[in-house]
Amino acid sequence: MLRSLRGLVCHPQKLDHRYALHTAAKDCLSSLVKQDVQTPAEGPRAVFYTSENDPANHAEHHEGRHYTIPLEEVKAVFPHGLPHRFQQQIKTFNEACLMVRKPALELFAYLKKSNFAHPAVRYVIYGEKGTGKTMTLCHVVHYCSRQGWLVLHIPDAHLWVKNCRELLQSSYNKDRLDQPLQASFWLKNFKTSNERFLKEIKTQRKYVWGKRDSTEEGRPLGEVVEQGLARVRNASDAVGVVLKEIKQQCHLGFFRLLVAVDGVNALWGRTTLKKEDKSPVSPEELTLVYNLRKMMRNDWLPLDLFQQLHVLLTLRIPELDTVFQRRSHKRGTEGHCWRGIVWTIGTSMGNSGTASGGAVVTTLSQTGSLFKPRSAYLPQELLGKEGFDVLDPFIPILVSNYSAAEFESCYQYYRHCRWLQHPRAHTEEGKEELRFLSGSNPRQLERLAGPL
């Protein structure tokens, strides 16, 4: 705005002073208006489309508009997160367009303002069937991966408690059962999405996998993942190790952690799996579920200060080496040196604490859930007493059906992509019929618009 004013002042009008001011104001206004219209999108597409592709910059005026995610980023960030129908849409239209909606903007505001020195806040996205909970979660995952967080994305926790062909008895704990297929599948996708973190994070303990395999202390986490993929029998244990290491190291200040779980009510419900003697399996007896439940708890507290010191000394961070040298040089006596080191570590923790802590964002889902009625969508109904007590206190985020503006935007987007081919669908009556039949529910609208 200031730029345009300066430009106008540099070229004074040769008219009467009042006229000059008037025309200057008019020019200023018209240029502003042009900027406003051009920055979101081209004129007619501005209803449903925005060219702002970074979720961090999405604001109130982007609400209801679709933004594109480049296809390479989709493959890198979402190897396994997107719903099946959305993947088909990406394949058909050759582009991935996501609508910016209020719940997602609310979550971004919370994440931007949260104090990461405090324990991680838990968010539960709930709502009726087909209102867009999974898509909101994917939007948040995209935002966090753009910000450089480590994203632990479990696409559907229900897949871990049903339809499991192979159940092995866990070697680590006799009572628990392993799921090699699901664990190795998840490890493969985790590897694709978080390559660089796997090289940076180092293990803090020695892990013995069998008679001949073991991972030493201080090796990159990528080796644990490789071990899990190579030896499928140890895949569930590898997953447990990965989760434990990430949870412990998240407060050291090298990365922020986002735990994104879709269908979190699966962790505290019942399973349809049976042991060899036909007795039912409860979720605690599955290694994957047991380890994931530990992640859901709020106890990512930083280690005791001296434990931190021990860890940092073993890791040998280069900046701290120079600090040691300088401190010992200045102070001389050991006592001072020790206090100095602890103080510098404290401040460096504070400084590098710009990238520590994290958040837990979860979604409830009735669609894949077991033994829950179709009409249940509230957290108390789906999580049950046990799950609610574990997750409590959490921030609930309601996702509802499309508002009038969002419906309009979705309809225009389908028309633009040539998804609505029926000639009658382009009329007002067709649109009203679609609105009535779908009840502004996103899933119903998509299913109805399919054959049209």
């Binding site: 081919q421 009329t427 009556e429």
Partner: protein, 215 residues
């Protein structure tokens, strides 16, 4: 064909229900003479009850409903309708993928509307002339015979459905196979078009017996 007056419970004065809203939404001044006459007639005569398959939806198509009814087994209309909608969606997806990958010049030639493709494919599959078995002097002859529109439509739909039910791999689903067949028929290729040509050739070959027909 004559209307089955003996079996229907409606008297002769009953009229068929008219489901389109356009005629009734026009104000009185815009109606032409014929339309005014029609409205007066309908005001006086009793109207039959509308069957559940007829809908006021702007998206309903009688040909699609007929095809869905023929695909239905054991009265499972829900399954038949979902298969039909999945077929239309599959056709649309295939055509849209082709559309997005095609260069600028060819984009207009690719037809993406599944309804247009369905209607055109059925039209291409309809035979012009049919065969009927007539027994003369103990021997049965295949005699070439003209067909009415409804018979042609029925034969096209019947061939399409039997082809998709029988000549497919055990694991392929009906919508996928149907969409494949419809796209092939739209381009005038595929097994159903071949069947139609075989029928035409047989009719041409049995031209000599055409005088056996008495209707």
């Amino acid at each position: 064909r004559l209307t089955p007056v003996r079996w229907s419970r409606y008297g002769p004065s009953y009229l068929e229900p008219d489901v389109s809203k356009e005629l009734y939404q026009k104000p009185l001044e815009e109606l032409s003479e014929e339309e005014k006459e029609k409205l007066k007639l309908r005001a006086v005569h009793p109207i039959k009850a509308a069957p559940p398959s007829v809908s006021t939806s702007v998206f309903s198509d009688p040909m699609i409903s007929k095809f869905t009814n023929m695909m239905m087994k054991n009265g499972n209309k829900v399954l038949a309708r979902s298969l039909m909608s999945q077929t239309l969606e599959a056709i649309k997806r295939k055509q849209l993928e082709k559309y997005h990958k095609a260069p600028e010049g060819e984009k207009e030639t690719i037809e993406c509307n599944p309804y247009v493709i369905f209607h055109q494919a059925l039209k291409n599959c309809q035979p012009i002339i049919g065969l009927s078995s007539i027994t003369r002097g103990g021997k049965t002859y295949q005699v070439p015979v003209p067909l009415n529109d409804s018979r042609k439509r029925f034969l096209a739909m019947k061939w399409l459905i039997t082809e998709c039910r029988e000549n497919k791999h055990r694991r392929t689903l009906m919508p996928e196979k149907l969409s494949q067949e419809l796209l092939q028929a739209f381009n005038n290729e595929g097994p159903i078009i071949k069947k139609k040509h075989v029928l035409h050739k047989m009719a041409e070959a049995n031209r000599a017996y055409a005088h056996f027909r008495w209707w």
